[in-house]
Symmetry: C2
Subunit: 281 residues, 2 copies
Amino acid sequence: MCELLGMSANVPTDICFSFTGLMQRGGNTGPHRDGWGITFYEGKGFRTFKDPNPSCQSKIAELVQNYPIKSRAVISHIRQANRGGVNLENTHPFTRELWGRYWTFAHNGQLTDYQELSLGRFRPVGQTDSELAFCWLMTQLEQRYPEPPQDMMGMFRFLAECCDTLKEKGVFNMLLSDGEYVMTYCTNHLYWITRRAPFGKASLIDEDVTINFQEETTPNDVVSVVATQPLTDNEAWHRMKPSEYGLFHFGELIDGNADQLVDAPFAAMKVASQAPSGSLD
Amino acid sequence: MCELLGMSANVPTDICFSFTGLMQRGGNTGPHRDGWGITFYEGKGFRTFKDPNPSCQSKIAELVQNYPIKSRAVISHIRQANRGGVNLENTHPFTRELWGRYWTFAHNGQLTDYQELSLGRFRPVGQTDSELAFCWLMTQLEQRYPEPPQDMMGMFRFLAECCDTLKEKGVFNMLLSDGEYVMTYCTNHLYWITRRAPFGKASLIDEDVTINFQEETTPNDVVSVVATQPLTDNEAWHRMKPSEYGLFHFGELIDGNADQLVDAPFAAMKVASQAPSGSLD
């Protein structure tokens, strides 16, 4: 499967540590050789770095690892292709503008019968099920809210209902951000952790790197990281449940439906088995 | 004023040489210290590198200069801010999706009364007159062509008429691309050159760099470069006239209205003088 990485923070924070771990899975400790991308929001603007080449060999990935870009919302993805060829237009994350905001999306999973999804003015450029699902979500959002909603939490809950529909078509783990909020939806593989004072040390699973967050942070920093698999081996990551939706705002998990869900690993396995193993995008 | 750089080629070509010259104008040989950006199309996909920091000091600009990304359509911009603060959301180029294609835009100039332009579903994220004008152009395009037009040349001629309207509001030199075509519109400062066999040597104005294109190309390569100021001092650049529109396709200038226009340097100067000198974005 592909891998997702997201970050939400209350102060501009660099993601070099987590990104370093993720990039190793792009052809080194992981099989995701079919491209990678990362989007950093800075204010209302964003920068996306992407490459259809394996991240473990990418000069651009090397720059991103060594050049700390500080952001309060980040979405990243490394790809193992299933739907759509290995090229730039099929490389996540994808971005569209709605209501004068940039929306960025990355997906892990594989959908069937996604061609039935009716699209409006948002149209995919590439051939992935992921980008088509994103365009469908944006269409639902604009049809429901022609103007920017006041109740942002209600808007994200509406999006979570749309994700419930997509989940019926296969595996749909996703990250979505408008630069202020980071929304997560889980079908089977999504973990999160919130780091805050007192900060400790963390060591990467995929590379022999340890970081002492106490040296990198101030006492008021709150940073949440979301990933399809835990990135560190000495911290307690929360596993999200099937159909679980989460909403992060400036580092804090501010909304979600975890309490309403029963832990259902078997259901999760069943959904996962709908797609060829090892080929989930 | 800011500076624009565009490229259209019949084979994937890197723009390192021209970009190296342009970047020097970002705070070194030129005063454009307020950010820079470059968009490379690869197939239907694109990569944008941008930075609100001066290009002559930018680590990312350094990567782009040394890492040859081959493209058939490129749009680049270095900024000297007038409308809108110095930040990422105000950094050109800007991109939007229409008809399942990514459209990328960069502007040199300054508009007045641009707030009167009525917008549809394309909305600016930042505060520049440039992004607002781009959103207005995209709105005009979608209203006129709800579906992708068959007659692309007619569509670009329609866009040129829209640019005539924008020109009435000030200085509007621009580059626009969908990844296949590169469209240019000139108010006062825009030059172009087409390089083809037999290729010769070229030397940059802004840095002591000479290139022998014969060593870099094959006999069938055709590459056109467009810029607000010539980048080399030993080649014959064509100066575009006020209200001149040009359309490049895979390296060749395939359409334009130059023959219908009188050369009007005084008119150009008059238009230029509408905006404070040295502050054209």
